[in-house]
């Protein structure tokens, strides 16, 4: 249940005691169906490994990824260097392992920032409607008019030194509208329910209605999407870094590894293969986890 709690806890810290009882069955139901879902089990195991890799890369390798003697450059995979060595002679296995941290960090930072924005903006726009909703609608139209990768490419190119923070910031700017729109729709459908009307009739304050009645019930679809979106962001980060506008050396990143290995595809294909597998697996795990969560929390969405 660790993944589920993680996603849920950060989103609803404020109203933990209030919703414990009414919510228990929803999450318990979700957990029951998740436990039987082979896709969920697979992605949970993979994510556990990948996140451990990001937090404690030392557990997986005792080599130093920044120790690069040129005399051992361009070695094929061997018992000593499992993934071979790169052009500079760095141990490629340790570099690929250490690459997990930046990718997963950017993925989680961007996804949870977007979730935060989506919760606040979605609640305000969906509950109060009015001008906030109108402005939000136009703003999302605007961001949607610029293709994601294209917008991020042009924006990132303006920033001269780009670290995790800068890349994450730009991805949030182009990413928040999707989730906000989802949250708004979800809030809108809950706001029309009788129990909200009842709470209003009893004279409850707006802030309390939103916190205790709307948020817990509107959060379902967004939670699953947060995990899917983490996967999308990790893919986008690797793509942008590969194109040369994302993270920069000396950062250790799969995108940079792909970029540098591209020129040696015929001579040293292993330099391309390993970061590709890791990017693919990481994005895959997050997206599968997200779809499993979404189907479990909101079975109606399974249709698509």
């Amino acid at each position: 249940m660790t993944e589920l709690n993680k996603v849920d806890a950060s989103a609803t810290v404020t109203n933990e005691p209030a919703k414990k009882t009414e919510d228990a069955s929803l999450w318990a139901d979700a957990w029951r169906s998740l436990r039987r879902n082979p896709w969920f089990i697979t992605s949970a195991v993979l994510l556990l490994i990948l996140i451990t890799m990001a937090l404690f890369p030392q557990l997986f390798t005792d080599q130093d990824p920044r120790h690069c003697p040129l005399d051992r450059s361009r070695q094929e995979p061997s018992a000593e260097h499992w993934f071979g060595t790169d052009i500079q002679g760095c141990d490629y296995y340790s570099r690929v392992i250490y690459g997990a941290r930046n990718s997963i960090a950017i993925g989680l930072i961007v996804a949870f920032s977007c979730l935060g924005i989506a919760i606040v903006m979605g609640l305000v726009a969906g509950y109060f409607r009015g001008w906030v909703d109108a402005v939000l609608g136009r703003l999302t139209d605007l961001v949607f008019a610029i293709p994601y990768i294209l917008g991020a490419l042009v924006f990132l190119n303006v920033i001269e030194t780009r670290g995790v923070r800068e890349v994450a910031f730009v991805l949030v700017i182009f990413g928040w509208p999707t989730m906000t729109r989802l949250m708004r729709g979800s809030v809108l459908s809950v706001t029309g329910q009788e129990y909200v009307l009842a709470a209003k009739a009893l004279g409850a304050k707006n802030i309390n209605i939103m916190r205790r009645h709307i948020l817990p019930n509107a959060l379902g679809p967004v939670v699953g999407y947060t995990a899917i979106y983490t996967g999308i962001v990790i893919g986008a980060e690797a793509t942008l870094t590969f194109l040369g506008v994302g993270l920069q050396l000396p950062a250790i990143s799969w995108g940079i590894q792909l970029n540098q290995a591209q020129g040696y595809i015929t001579q040293l294909p292993h330099l391309l293969v390993f970061p590709m597998i890791f990017v693919g697996l990481t994005v895959f795990s997050f997206m599968i986890m997200g779809e499993a969560l979404r189907d479990a929390i909101d079975p109606k969405s399974k249709k698509r």
Binding site: L153, V154, I265, M276, V283, I288
Partner: protein, 308 residues
């Protein structure tokens, strides 16, 4: 219907203006002075720098620069000139056909494979073929285009040697792998979407009536079930043609294809702001127009949309 079209058109205008304005502003706030870079080691006389700045409207206030530029785009199809004196339109005309070929290949690929897979999976629900389609679509949707492209390049290009790894020297064969990479995710999404629509349609009353009338199974599926199920697929494919333009940047860079996407990438790195603005403006216009058309098409196909 007329009212709906007018409302959508009115929304279209400010969105286009702001989107292009943002791009214009971002590109021209790129670090570095292109005019100084033009002259190389020996600095140009001040008067000449001034003349060039005047020629490219660099002395005007930002909004005036932008207005002049957009005026040129819409009245004369003039996307500006590079600082080396080559018209941006020239570059677009040279690279666009390649990208369109690639997009067309991808579009046809995802249409054919996606629809066939969706029909098989929907008609033979819960059989082996359905399970196969479901598992493979889940996997493909969850992979980034970057990884798919490299995987295809390594397996089919390098290992099996069936297709060229890079470039377009070998004619249309060179487009196959990039097109599959570009269309893979959408193919899987089309298959999934069609499957669920078809399953729903085949359980509906009008399909039961058609079967009861004694129509053959193939005709029931083809004329009655499939027809309604294809509506969302068609609109999805329209919208997807627009998103595909973003994907071409990655795919063209990986397979080294001299198209529009690759050109943006090269121009950004070479700091050719005018080329970037020209191409991005074109793509944004294309994207917004296509989305508008898809919305209108949707309204034509599905009457419920018009009356909201």
């Amino acid at each position: 219907m007329t009212q709906y079209i007018i409302r959508r058109l009115l929304q279209f205008i400010p969105v286009t203006i702001f989107a292009t304005l943002i791009v214009y502003w971002l590109v021209f706030s790129m670090p570095g002075d292109p005019i100084r870079a033009l002259s190389g080691d020996r600095p140009m006389p001040e008067a000449q720098v001034e003349a060039i700045r005047e020629q490219y409207n660099l002395n005007d206030p930002f909004l005036v620069q932008y207005a002049k530029y957009m005026w040129g785009v819409f009245t004369q199809g003039d996307f500006g000139t590079t600082f080396q004196g080559r018209p941006v339109l020239d570059i677009i005309q040279q690279t666009l056909p390649t990208t369109l070929t690639l997009a067309a290949f991808a579009f046809v690929f995802q249409g054919i494979i996606g629809i066939i897979a969706g029909i098989l999976s929907g008609v033979y629900k819960d059989r082996f073929i359905d399970r196969l389609v479901q598992v493979s679509t889940v996997v493909v949707v969850a992979l980034p285009t970057l990884a798919i492209a490299f995987l295809l390049q390594l397996v089919f290009g390098l290992n099996l040697g069936l297709f060229p790894i890079a470039g377009i020297q070998q004619g249309l064969v060179s487009y196959i792998l990039p097109a599959i990479a570009l269309g893979a995710v959408s193919t899987a999404m089309i298959a999934r979407m069609l499957r669920s629509e078809l399953i729903e349609a085949l359980q509906s009353d009008y399909v039961r009536t058609a079967t009861a009338k004694g129509l053959k199974r193939g005709r029931v599926i083809g004329r009655h079930g499939l027809r309604n199920s294809l509506i969302p697929v068609v609109t999805f494919m329209g919208a997807d043609l627009a998103t595909m333009m973003g994907g071409t940047i990655v795919v063209e860079s990986i397979f080294n294809i001299p198209g529009l996407g690759g050109q943006i990438f090269r121009s950004i790195q070479a700091q050719e702001g005018t080329v970037v603005v020209g191409i991005v403006t074109l793509l944004v216009l294309f994207y917004v127009t296509l989305n508008l058309l898809v919305d209108l098409l949707y309204a034509v196909l599905d009457p419920r949309i018009r009356y909201d």
